[in-house]
């Protein structure tokens, strides 16, 4: 961030107001009007935003934190209504301001950024043009050239690469992280005094979220803005905030400095929140050990390339190389993990593994047979033996079929058993996954996400598969539900000897359940190691960067500052020559630019694709 930019964008210095609070909320209460009457969302909220500080607000979903952050810009819509209290800003109560005056403050002096960056802008107009439109609306005195220049400078300040070109690109050409940066630009371009950031890192990958946090911290200093940072992740808020407020069902239960809150939480709810943050390194559980059974799944040098039409050339196509030369083996009864961030090719890989698509290169062997060569009856027989479970539990279940019918469907397709046998089997499996027998004849309406995921699991299990591929299956569930299902998977494994392939971005969950783990980056496995080695002595800088960026409240062996990644993964259309990770690697050297590292296999059977010798990475700062 260039200093000159920040200074020329600062308003006239207001030293007399230096210590006065930027915003004071007093006795704020919000209700929701429903058919059943009023229900309290927020009760008697008092908070103060100090100048040049970051106030963290933490709460679980349903605690009212989004309502609070919207009430702070007087932006609540029916059925929500403010019943009492005040939001004082600059000597005025925002709640009593005329609508036009309030609209004049919103987006000018008080900026708001939400959790949904990819749909926050008009999809048909270039991003830069929309930010320019906003700047021109709030600062009509700027000439068009000056305004445009300021937008480009601010895009540069949030480290969006080649901001001049990006200015003319459309929202769908931006990744989630880039889009969130653009929204930060949009908020800061008018140089607001207060920025309300409502769960802004929620949809982002951990390494990108870590970048956004650091960026926001830097910008807060440079732009002299106070920030209210709302989040449901304690690990994230504690990275950025000075002071913290804990919100529980509409009440503030605790307020402390970050350090104080983590060290000496006072309220029971705060303690519970802290205890709920999954421990990756400090956990007492011993991770699962690799299985020594026979090889069930043998993936050899698999690749998949998609073709997309090129808009800039006539009759040209561009190749999206989604999966490149992936090899690994999974043994019977093992939990194998595949981790990576969005766009790394893990979902394409899951489609290849479950035979929904054919690989362009290499082969996938299931119990010694190449699944690509199977057709018709053989393929159907194979499908019985491995099943894919996906993330979304809602769209995977037909809304008009009874739960029993949904679970029986695979048996009917495969023609397994008479009606009575099928009903018997379905009821058995429902009991096994913890679905009440009464649900057999009911429609899935009103089932919770966890219950729906159980229906999906039952539907897969009824075929008695040997291999389950879990593609982010537990990602949409809360911690408690997730833990219950993991226990269920474990029980099933002991009972039936099922092999699991977990595909996930959740490093804490993978740490808990997987014996061996592959880390994917840009369509390739960069490191493949057993659980302990991966988390304590990782051999690849990308793995370390991922682990250093996980929002936790415990000490980590990898310091964020050492491994923080710059920028975003390259486009899988234009993969750079040499090592594909070198554009973001803090340890890249000359050889990485020309030479693509192949996997080095170490004595313990672990492997990583990096030119750096194992001992040349900084030593982990925490011993096992």
């Amino acid at each position: 961030m260039s200093k000159s930019l920040a200074t020329h964008m600062s308003p006239a210095s207001n030293s007399h107001a230096a210590m006065a609070p930027v915003m004071e909320v007093r006795g704020l209460s919000v209700v929701v009007n429903t058919a059943a009457g009023e229900r309290n969302i927020l009760t008697d909220i008092d908070l103060t935003v100090a100048p040049r500080s970051v106030l963290g607000i933490i709460g679980e979903s349903g605690s009212g934190k989004t309502v609070l952050s919207r009430a702070m810009v007087n932006w609540l819509k029916p059925p929500l209504a403010i019943t009492k209290g005040s939001v004082r800003y600059d000597g005025r109560d925002l709640l009593t301001l005329p609508a036009a005056t309030m609209a004049g403050l919103r987006g000018r002096e008080i900026a708001y950024i939400g959790a949904n960056p990819t749909s926050a802008l008009d999809p048909t107009v270039p991003v830069g043009h929309q930010i320019l439109e906003k700047l021109r609306a709030v600062a009509p005195e700027l000439t068009p050239q000056a305004a445009r220049q300021r937008v480009i400078d601010t895009l540069d300040a949030v480290r969006i690469p080649s901001p001049k070109q990006r200015f003319d690109e459309y929202p769908f050409q931006f990744s989630g992280g880039m889009m969130q940066r653009a929204m930060i630009v949009d908020a800061l371009v008018s140089n607001p005094k207060l920025l309300i950031a409502d769960n802004i890192t929620q949809p982002l990958d951990v390494t990108v979220a870590a970048q956004i946090l650091r960026l926001l911290r830097d910008l807060q200093k440079d732009f002299d803005t106070s920030i209210v940072f709302v989040s449901s992740s304690l690990g994230i808020v504690s990275e950025i905030a000075d002071d913290m407020i804990v919100l529980d069902r509409g009440h503030i239960v605790e307020r402390q400095s970050v350090r104080g809150l983590l060290a000496t939480p006072e309220h029971a709810y705060t303690k519970e929140l802290i205890a709920k943050v999954p421990m990756i390194w400090a956990s007492a559980e011993t991770p699962p050990v690799p299985s020594s059974g026979d090889i069930v799944l043998d993936v050899r040098d698999v690749g998949k390339t998609y073709r997309v039409r090129d808009r800039k050339a006539i009759f040209a196509e561009r190749q999206v190389r989604a999966v490149r030369g992936v090899s690994f083996t999974v043994r019977r009864g093992e939990n194998f993990g595949i981790i990576g961030e969005s766009g790394c090719g893990k979902s394409t890989l899951s489609r290849l593994l479950s035979c929904l698509e054919q690989p362009d290169a290499g082969q996938i062997q299931f119990e010694g047979r190449d699944i690509a060569t199977l057709k018709g009856r053989d393929l159907l027989g194979l499908r019985r033996r491995f099943q894919l479970l996906l993330q979304d539990p809602y769209n995977a279940i037909a809304a008009h079929a009874s739960i029993g019918r949904t679970i029986a469907e695979p048996l009917l397709i495969h023609g397994l058993g008479s009606r009575r046998e099928i009903e018997h089997k379905v009821k058995d499996v429902m009991a096994e996954v913890g679905l009440a027998p009464a649900l057999y004849n009911q429609l899935p309406i009103g089932l919770s996400a966890g219950q729906r995921q159980r229906v999906n699991i039952a539907r897969a299990l009824v075929l008695e598969p040997e291999l389950l591929i879990l593609d982010e299956t537990l990602s949409s569930l809360d911690q408690v539900e997730q833990a219950k299902l993991l226990d269920l998977f474990e029980t099933l494994q002991v009972k039936r000897g099922i092999t699991y392939v977990y595909i996930s971005h959740d490093l804490a969950m993978v740490r808990r359940v997987c014996a061996r783990i592959a880390v994917m980056y840009l369509g390739r496995i960069v490191e493949l190691a057993d659980n302990d080695t991966m988390y304590w002595r990782s051999a690849h800088p990308y793995t370390r960067a991922l682990l250093s960026a996980v929002p936790t409240v415990e000490a980590k062996p990898y310091r964020t500052a050492t491994y923080l990644l710059e920028g975003e993964p390259p486009d899988p259309i234009d993969i750079p020559p040499g090592c594909s990770f070198r554009t973001r690697c803090p340890f890249a050297f000359d050889r990485c630019a020309t030479d693509d590292p192949s996997q080095t296999i170490y004595a313990d059977g672990n492997a990583s694709a990096c030119h750096l010798p194992l001992n040349s990475l900084p030593a982990p700062e925490l011993a096992h």
Binding site: W75, G107, Y112, D122, T124, K134, A137
Partner: protein
């Protein structure tokens, strides 16, 4: 730029194939339906031998694909053949002469007939669309912007009313009210621009209900989008958001509706409306041709209509992808 070139090259080549297929189907159907064209050309008085001789001479006894090939060869030079019935000076001449007296040169050329009628139809269609826009845009926008309020209900009532009025009945009522009763506007035939107004109103009443519904649904859906809400929090006024973003986004489904449905409705509407008002356009030409089994005219109009549909859809798709760059064609 590269995208535009590729788009048009691709779509024009696809379009040509479609038009040729449509032409072939129509050409074939018209030749396998009962009724020998040569009987129509020469009339009921001609002898069987004369019919056969003339038919062979005109190529009507060749296999269909040979006839079709010959026909398409002529079409590429802009020649759609000659009417069976209409004389070069206008008026019908069919069935009034024997084999010896028939000379194809004495019949009007189809392309000439179409070229005469087309400007009238284009004028009527343009005015009809303009009237439809005039009614549908304000009502549809109001309904979309004030969903659930009285403008929304107005939109629903107006479109329900218009959609349930048969265009023949509307035509007769308007002729009675605006022409016969009050004498404000002329109604039958064509002697000047004023003759287009009442037929255009009938067309507009037919077109506008679909437009009203489409506009209001599309605008209301965009008001519910996240970007609209966020835009207001970002500091943009509601008016700016509607004028610059909502209308732009709402235009895409409307364009598609226009390409897919409206042009078809318009063509169908033209046939009926021109017939009611004896309006000398393509519709009138075609309907008379159907009654007289004047196959060359029918097939030429059908081919031109399919070409027009293909061309308009191509332009509509290009406009859509220019507005919304996520769309792929």
């Amino acid at each position: 730029m590269a995208f535009a070139i590729e788009f048009f090259l691709r779509r024009i080549s696809q379009g040509v194939v479609i038009v040729i297929l449509v032409a072939f189907v129509i050409f074939t159907l018209l030749r396998i339906v009962p009724g020998d064209p040569i009987r129509i050309i020469l009339g009921p008085m001609a002898s069987a031998a004369a019919l056969e001789e003339k038919a062979t001479e005109l190529g009507l006894r060749d296999p269909i694909y040979v006839q079709f090939g010959r026909f398409m060869g002529q079409v590429t030079t802009g020649d759609f053949g000659r009417s069976f019935i209409r004389g070069a000076q206008g008026g019908s001449a069919g069935g009034s002469q024997d084999a010896a007296g028939y000379n194809p040169e004495s019949r009007a050329s189809v392309s000439g007939l179409i070229a005469n009628a087309l400007p009238y139809s284009l004028q009527l269609a343009a005015l009809g669309i303009a009237f439809a826009f005039l009614v549908a845009i304000p009502i549809g926008l109001g309904a979309g912007l004030r969903a659930g309020k009285w403008p929304d209900r107005l939109g629903l009532y107006v479109s329900s009313l218009f959609v349930s009025l048969p265009n023949i009945w509307v035509g007769v009522v308007l002729i009675f009210l605006l022409s016969a009763k009050t004498g404000w506007l002329p109604a039958i035939g064509y002697q000047g621009f004023a003759y287009t107004i009442i037929p255009a109103m009938v067309l507009a009443i037919e077109l506008s209900p679909v437009m009203i519904r489409a506009i209001s649904v599309s605008v209301a859906a965009n008001l519910g989008e996240v970007y609209f809400d966020v835009g207001l929090v970002r500091g943009l006024s509601r008016r700016t958001m509607v004028a610059k973003h909502v209308l732009r986004n709402a235009a895409v489904p409307l364009l598609n509706l226009f390409g897919a449905q409206m042009i078809g409705m318009l063509l169908g509407g033209l046939f009926v409306v021109e017939y009611i008002f004896s309006y000398p356009g393509i519709g009138m030409l075609t309907i008379n041709a159907v009654f007289q089994r004047d196959f060359p005219i029918i097939q030429a109009v059908a081919i031109l209509a399919s070409a027009a549909l293909v061309a308009i859809n191509m332009l509509v798709d290009f406009a859509s992808t220019t507005i919304d760059r996520r769309l792929k064609f």
